[in-house]
Symmetry: C2
DNA sequence: ACCTGAACACCGTTCAAGT
DNA sequence: ACCTGAACACCGTTCAAGT
């Protein structure tokens, strides 16, 4: 059986999920696949290009039109915390549905649902936020869910959809990275544990952003 | 003359400023200082600890009580774009002053001024956002300006100052990283240039966040 | 106290040569 | 077409030994 690009990306995702980005080296990947390092470079142009593929796989559950289709993500159930639907005031009415221009709340709910779905897909995979961030800056159109986020914002009437997309994504990825780093620190040194910065901090910040984006009053009139 | 920790951090900052994080290796640093690599480890415990020091230096102009004291940052003038005061509706009234509880607008202006100051201090130093991010997660209290940002938010009556601090910082650092990555990409491949994502995108996003945090209406009543 | 010299265990990428 | 073997030019960290 000959090596495949899919196999390479699958194994890369597996190493990332189990051991994190520090252990995801081309050499480690080759060892896991029982080939020489050079063989990998027949299937991928560079490690960066490989990471773009891994990022796409991380978010592949959100490729379709339904932002909540695979809410738990490929890595299993969501992180610890009180169970129940996230974003109670937003998620139930709509996941990733097209925003109805006659119903402004639907646009906000769709954005909230997709943002929460992206977080759920990444939060259990170590360093996944970093991987998505490099993919996002390296090949801005390679990640469909991020394009979908932008078009949701555009449909909802946001003035600068691309800017808003980055605003939301910086919060999503920043929250995940902070939470994972805090967890890593706590695992080594259990004494230094300031604030957990978990799912509730994420939801709170998301609502602040959505208030600013969709808020009645002066916010809606901003250029 | 014997080596000093200050010298090590100074030279590290110089390499970062001129060549970026990829070129800031312990070996390169030792070469620049005309010592062996091992010598560095007498003065710093690890590269991560060194980066915390570099991050502190990057933001040292904002240590004092005035958030706009060193608005241009250590790297020279701000990035390209139409000149003029940033955040016209926020910066003029107050830089980093204590928020007057009787004047809610002063709190918002102080936060905006400090956030803009942090951006100005970092935007011209390549990969500075990444450096600050690792410092922030590694030693959350080592960077005074970030603590000051939190206390400004607290004084302004924000419900969750620590969460809000991260919300603002994720936007500041995310915007800088995206802008610098886009510039790096454009330098290599001038054809692929989606949206610039520069200072105006930063200001717009900052105002959205501040609208959500300070906004009149439902936003102010959020827990 | 402060630094050298040298090692340990790694990296990403390239490329002639094999099959 | 696909892979091996081997090299190139690097990493961060440690530590006996020198001064």
């Amino acid at each position: 059986m000959t090596l495949t690009r899919d196999q390479v990306e699958d194994t890369a995702l597996a190493i990332l999920t189990r051991f994190g980005l520090a252990d995801l080296s081309m050499r480690r990947l080759a060892r896991e696949l029982d080939v020489q390092v050079g063989a990998l470079y027949w299937h991928v142009k560079s490690k960066q290009e490989l990471l773009v593929g891994v990022a796409a796989r991380l978010l592949s559950g959100l490729d379709g039109p339904d932002g909540l289709a695979d809410l738990a993500g490929p890595a299993g159930p969501d992180d610890a915390g009180p169970p129940g639907p996230p974003a109670p005031q937003d998620a139930p009415p709509a996941g990733g549905r097209r925003a109805d221009p006659r119903d402004p709340a639907a646009g906000r709910a769709a954005v909230a649902g997709l943002a929460t779905g992206i977080r759920s897909a990444l939060v259990n995979v170590p360093d996944s936020a970093e991987v998505v961030q490099v993919a996002q800056s390296l090949q801005p159109d390679a990640l469909k869910p991020l394009n979908r986020l932008r078009s949701l914002l555009e449909s909802a009437g946001i003035a600068h959809p691309a800017w808003a997309q980055h605003l939301v994504m910086n919060h999503v990825l920043g929250s995940i990275a902070a939470a994972q780093e805090a967890a890593r620190l706590a695992a080594v040194d259990p004494t230094a544990s300031a604030a957990p910065l978990g799912e509730d901090a994420f939801e709170w910040g998301l609502q602040v952003i959505l208030d600013g984006l969709f808020g009645t009053g002066p916010a809606a009139a901003r250029p």
